[in-house]
């Protein structure tokens, strides 16, 4: 009794006939260029014929899907980046980066724009991404995954860590409240001390033409960052453009390199 198997004969009902017709249309066959993924070959074809899925390897180690090993922190960082990109795009529909409107638009996003949670999702997602990026780095370090041949990807990751922090920093100014303005004032003052390029930095006094200083408050690194000598209109617009376009583009390119490099270096590193 326990060894009996029941075979179900396929029936040509209306649903089956519709399915057969649908999967033979030109639209369907141009989108799905493989049969059902019920054989190894078809499973490979599913991955290879889809731009999004092809980022994944066809096969991975068991440790690659083990939460205890990877913590999924790289994946979480990427997910948070996507959700931040999406919510950020939506916020751009209601936010104007000028002295006249910036603060009121942020208040409006909370008070009367539909779904006041949108800005909170962006804000808390940003905090979470900083945390997950650090934890990802910590995991990679603790598992020794920075060692050759992965040292190149480690370096790419370090640059992306800096970009993540810069995204966080530039986004911090945009609400244009007291917290934002003074935080960026304090933060950007650090640029004064840039070696050679900051007007209070070591070596800047050496760069002179006769007795005229080449690096001063009106042309140093801090000036370039703020687009002025204090945190004002120029800084707000500059940080907005960097936050919404410049830095996301840079980090997206590096992410593509990062993921590609993971594959080329033999997939997610395994336990020692």
């Amino acid at each position: 009794m326990a060894t009996q198997t029941k075979t179900v004969k396929p029936q040509e009902g209306a649903g089956t006939r519709f399915w057969n017709w649908l999967t033979e249309t030109q639209v369907w066959t141009s989108v799905f260029r493989h049969d059902r993924p019920d054989t190894d070959r078809n499973r490979v074809l599913v991955m290879l014929s889809n731009i999004f899925l092809h980022l994944h390897p066809v096969r991975i180690r068991k440790s690659g899907v083990k939460l205890r090993y990877t913590w999924c922190m790289g994946g979480m960082s990427f997910f948070l980046f996507l959700s931040l990109t999406f919510t950020g795009l939506l916020l751009m529909f209601y936010y104007r980066p000028t002295l006249e409107y910036a603060y009121n638009d942020i208040v409006g996003l909370r008070e009367h724009v539909p779904l006041g949670i949108m800005r909170e999702m962006h804000r808390w997602g940003a905090h979470a991404m900083v945390i997950t990026v650090w934890l990802h780095m910590f995991r990679v370090f603790m598992t020794g995954s920075y060692k050759p041949p992965r040292e190149f990807n480690w370096s790419v990751g370090v640059i992306m860590l800096v970009l993540t922090l810069l995204l966080s920093f530039t986004g911090y100014l945009l609400p244009w409240d007291q917290l934002a303005i003074w935080a960026i004032t304090v933060g950007s003052n650090m640029a004064r001390a840039t070696p050679f390029l900051g007007n209070e930095g070591p070596g800047a006094a050496l760069l002179t033409l006769g007795d005229v200083r080449l690096i001063h408050a009106g042309d140093d690194a801090r000036f370039a960052l703020l687009g002025g000598t204090f945190v004002g209109e120029g800084a707000l617009l500059r940080f907005y453009v960097l936050h919404c376009v410049g830095l996301p583009l840079a980090i997206a390119v590096l992410m593509a390199v990062h993921f590609w490099r993971v594959r080329k270096d033999g997939g997610i590193s395994g336990p020692m």
């Binding site: 009794m1 326990a2 060894t3 009996q4 198997t5 029941k6 939506l90 529909f93 209601y94 409006g108 009367h112 724009v113 539909p114 779904l115 949108m118």
Partner: protein, 252 residues
């Protein structure tokens, strides 16, 4: 009883609870030998079963006693023995619930995004507004409310439709493609800069591509004696709507 309702547990995928009682005895998680991790497996079967149970050896009937639908899961949770550590759901049910939750969440997010695009508050001029008392206006076209509210307020001694003296209010939207015409006082006409449509002071079109006269909007006298303009009601000449008393404010 346990032998009939439970399929031989594959060594690689021990049920979550099964390993727990053994943990103190075998703390080394790296142990590859399947024997300690599968206490429920009949000893006779343990060596024979390969990494994946062979298909004929596990008949479909073995799903009996397992939860195969979300409803069955709910029933099992309520009637479950607290010491029962068998898997709560089959893989199929778990996947169905996971995809269902993901799809529902995505649908909600999509709907919320759509809603987000429709603001609750507009920074636009109101549709109804007061423009001052009739004595503020001389005869002819008044352009004070063109920039801010998009209307010309015209005072006439004898309207072509109403045959009375008073006020009508013209929308500044050209009836050709929606540009804003200029009022040329010397020629007594509205001239659209986009494609050259021309309108008389009455609003009637007489040159250029505009297919119909400018629209008039509702005008009335408010309780405080000011002229009230209401752009939410339009009156079109070609539909005979300029006869409507709401489209004209009679002032002797």
């Amino acid at each position: 009883m346990a032998d009939e309702t439970k399929p031989p547990t594959p060594p690689g995928i021990a049920p979550p609870g099964a390993a727990t009682p053994v943990a103190p005895a075998a703390p080394a998680a790296k142990a590859v030998t399947p024997a300690p991790a599968t206490p429920a497996t009949p000893a006779a079967h343990a060596p024979a079963v390969p990494a994946r149970p062979a298909a004929p050896a596990v008949p479909a009937a073995n799903l009996a006693g397992k939860t195969t639908t979300p409803a069955a899961v709910a029933a099992k949770v309520s009637s479950r023995d607290p010491d029962d550590t068998s898997p709560l759901v089959t893989r199929r049910v778990w996947l169905a619930m996971a995809w269902g939750a993901f799809s529902a969440g995505s649908a909600v997010a999509l709907a919320a995004t759509g809603r987000f695009m429709f603001p609750n508050v507009l920074n636009e001029p109101p549709q109804q507004f007061k423009v001052g008392v009739p004595g503020d206006f001389g005869m002819g076209v008044d352009e004070r409310y063109k920039e801010s509210n998009g209307v010309w307020i015209v005072r006439t001694a004898d309207d072509i439709v109403q045959h009375a003296s008073g006020f009508y209010v013209l929308s500044t939207t050209c009836t050709h493609l929606g540009c804003t015409p200029n009022y040329l006082s010397a020629e007594g006409k509205f001239k659209c800069p986009c494609h050259g449509s021309g309108f008389r002071v009455t609003g009637i079109n007489f040159e250029g591509p505009a297919p119909r006269p400018l629209e008039r909007v509702r005008v009335a006298l408010a309780e405080d004696g000011q002229i009230l303009v209401d752009k939410s009601r339009k009156f079109q000449f070609e539909l005979g709507q300029w006869i409507d008393p709401d489209s004209f404010l009679q002032i002797a």
